[in-house]
Symmetry: C2
Subunit: 450 residues, 2 copies
């Protein structure tokens, strides 16, 4: 690795992971240390990434894929205590204790609150999309072609490091379902789901068995769908659903309005929502730089889940399945910073491969959600123990325990799980109750901390 | 220009214009003449371009923008006699006389019927997207980077000519409307409109005043929408609409479900369909090769409406507003072929500029639809008179006259205009009547020529 503080670093994306990377460097800079030159390219006109809600679907005003997958009434689907920055608490941001489950507006406000503390916004080129990255082996440098979307002008800049911080919840994975082309009404992917009220009084077929399916079923239930059928591929979500929501194995085919299920039953639907997940999608990277991975807890091409093994000056943030999110990004970005600055030794290729294989072997033993959570907790521990990120083992274990309690609570009460309160492992503060049960909140006038 | 029959030509897109270009060369080849090497890159898995209907919206299975903007029940919106190949008649293809207005399936069948006559399919690389084109000034050659979507592998090939045949009805133009983010239901662009039955019983707001707005209003009317309000920017379509369809000037803002209009009225809607047109969108071309144009009848960077003035070995097909379509593509592609082969002299830059300015001056005088049609007829005449494409002046003038009759007929009877019959200027054949009036056809079992 090249440890110069004089390096040039490109960060692609000013969402939570890119902002976290800038935070890590900004803290050093504010303590008077020299940091590398950072340029962040962001295709949107503001920072916040996925947390910038948009009414648009498909393509934006410049013909770029719309990044956002958020819906109007999205609330966090895990307690905020599981997604707390160790160096910037919810208490600090909101100046009081707030409920454990919060709407997207509040979550965005919290993330951007920390970003605004530093002056890293000056490093960001907004409305600028990275269209191509290749590594020049001769000059040992990355050529990054970017395009200013407002002027339409492209140009190439060179960098010593490229940090891919574009997330992996933006490009829909849309499998073909036999006969779906005969369905006479709306078929959308969860990426394009914006407002559950559109589905009031409808019979909805939700295809998928993971978190999107679960939450979109809840959303459409809350806003008055007549019935929701969740059709899962691998296994049912298995909650105690209300009578309007049922789970069925993956349909075998559509025929007009009718879905046929493996048990021989069939049922008519008014709309189909594909909750079939997202792709890791990096069309802007040259073939030899492109991470190829399924959804897993340890992408096999990434040392420490971060550094591209074949070219470790190419860095990927947050490409894992995420139990932890903000603190996982921080754990990674503090580590990245310290590797770039030479504070953490960077082993040779074989040593890295051995470390990666050890983690992959460990990952293969994951059998259920709790194993996966333990795996990710151990992963965070390894990263944070190498840096000054203030998430010590005790706090991290506390957060993991809260996560487990929450998973239990959700399983026992899927409809009302967002009304529970948890305590922060960072500050010790117990969340307050919502003034209104989540199922009854349909606007934010009753959310007093907004 | 380089006139070698040994040139290598890249065609981007195997839709109607790309297929037309291959046809032009194939005809020469089948008469024993040597033709250049042609490689056509097509991102879909079949030829037909826009005419390949898809249930998908947004992104395809590879994360590429879905090309298709067609809807299930789309029928031609002009008589087939205005869109007839001069060298391959509808009579020939269907072996009988068929009605003037035909569903998309029949139109696709006709287009592909001609394509299947040649063996040009061997030139096409399917599932292959062109991701970048740049011109190497030193070697005087185009570098074309393509990606095989099924393998994910990219590679670069060099070409003497690049023909851009990707159309301009695929990338939606989506303007912001004040308050649209507060609308609690579905907002789609016509690009994503697939099935009018989804809007049955709904009050629809159609934003736009051109052909998409007109036809989507008719579609939703036919399939049972409660009401349709067309909100136009420039001027009303001005047909004699049935009482369920009304036209209003461009709304000033949305507020929840309610659209506010300049006359002070407001009205609630269940869905919004943006018929706001498409962008000329060529993100795969280096800045210096990219056509920048609005919708017009003579893009000012294209000599003969075809050859990119700054680099005339870069060729654009069908980038004009289209009254004529298939015959316009043929007029262009026969001309392109003969320029490449040195059969048509290619003037120097100044001479080209003078010719372009003369056409632009003429275009500026267009005041209405009839002027525009006359302009495009004259444009076709100039092109076809230089080649052996069998569209003589008499036939072309006949087709133009049919177009004018049709425009009159449509204006006087918007609901039933598709039940009219016209005569072919190519064969003289008069179309037969539909067995069922268009307004009553809701499946194709009654369309006996399919």
């Amino acid at each position: 690795m090249d440890h110069r503080a004089t390096a040039r670093i490109a960060i692609i994306g000013a969402g939570p992971s890119g902002l976290s990377q800038m935070r890590a460097f900004a803290l050093l800079e504010s303590s008077g240390q020299k940091i590398p030159e950072i340029v962040c390219f962001e295709k949107q006109n503001d920072w916040g990434g996925m947390w910038n809600y948009t009414w648009r679907t498909g393509f934006d005003e410049y013909g770029e894929p719309v990044h956002g997958s958020m819906y109007r009434h999205l609330w966090s689907n895990a307690p905020k205590e599981c997604h707390e920055f160790a160096d910037y608490s919810f208490d600090h941001h909101f100046s009081k204790s707030i409920p454990s489950f919060i709407p997207r507006e509040a979550f965005r406000d919290y993330i951007l609150g920390r970003a605004e503390e530093s002056n890293m916004r000056r490093c960001i080129q907004f409305n600028t999309v990275v269209s191509y990255v290749e590594f020049d082996r001769e000059k040992e440098i990355f050529h990054v072609r970017k395009k200013n979307l407002t002027t339409g002008k492209s140009s190439i800049e060179d960098f010593d490091y490229v940090i891919v911080a574009v997330g992996h919840f933006s490009m829909p994975n849309v499998p073909y379902v036999e006969g779906i082309e005969t369905f006479p009404s709306q078929v959308i992917h969860s990426h394009d789901f914006r407002d559950a009220r559109q589905f009031a009084e409808q019979s909805i077929l939700v295809i998928g068995g993971s978190l999107s399916a679960e939450d979109i079923a809840l959303q459409t239930f809350k806003f008055g769908a007549k019935s929701i059928t969740i059709s899962y591929r691998t296994k049912p979500i298995g909650c105690k659903w209300p009578s309007k929501i049922e789970e069925k194995p993956l349909l075998t085919r559509m025929e007009g309005r009718s879905a046929h299920f493996p048990d021989g039953s069939e049922r008519n639907f008014d709309s189909i929502i594909l909750c079939t997940g997202y792709k890791h999608h990096f069309p802007f990277l040259n073939d030899d730089l492109r991470l190829v991975t399924t959804n897993c807890f340890y992408p096999s091409q990434l040392y420490k889940g971060i550094f591209f093994q074949e070219q470790p000056r190419l860095i990927y943030l947050g490409m894992q399945n995420l139990y932890f999110s903000l603190s996982l990004f921080d754990a990674q970005t503090w580590y990245v910073r310290d590797v770039i600055l030479g504070r953490i030794p960077f082993p040779n290729k074989l040593q890295r491969a051995e470390d990666m294989l050890a983690w992959k072997t460990r990952e293969e033993k994951i059998e259920d959600k709790l194993d996966a959570l333990d795996f990710q907790t151990a992963y965070l521990k390894e990263l944070t123990s190498a840096t000054d990120y203030p998430l010590d083992d005790l706090r991290l274990s506390g957060t993991a325990a809260t996560f487990k309690n929450f998973l239990d609570d959700k399983e026992s009460n899927i409809i009302n799980y967002r009304d529970k309160q948890y305590a922060s492992s960072i500050t010790g503060t117990k969340a307050v109750m919502h003034p209104t049960p989540w199922m009854e909140v349909n606007n934010y006038s009753s959310v007093d901390f907004l």
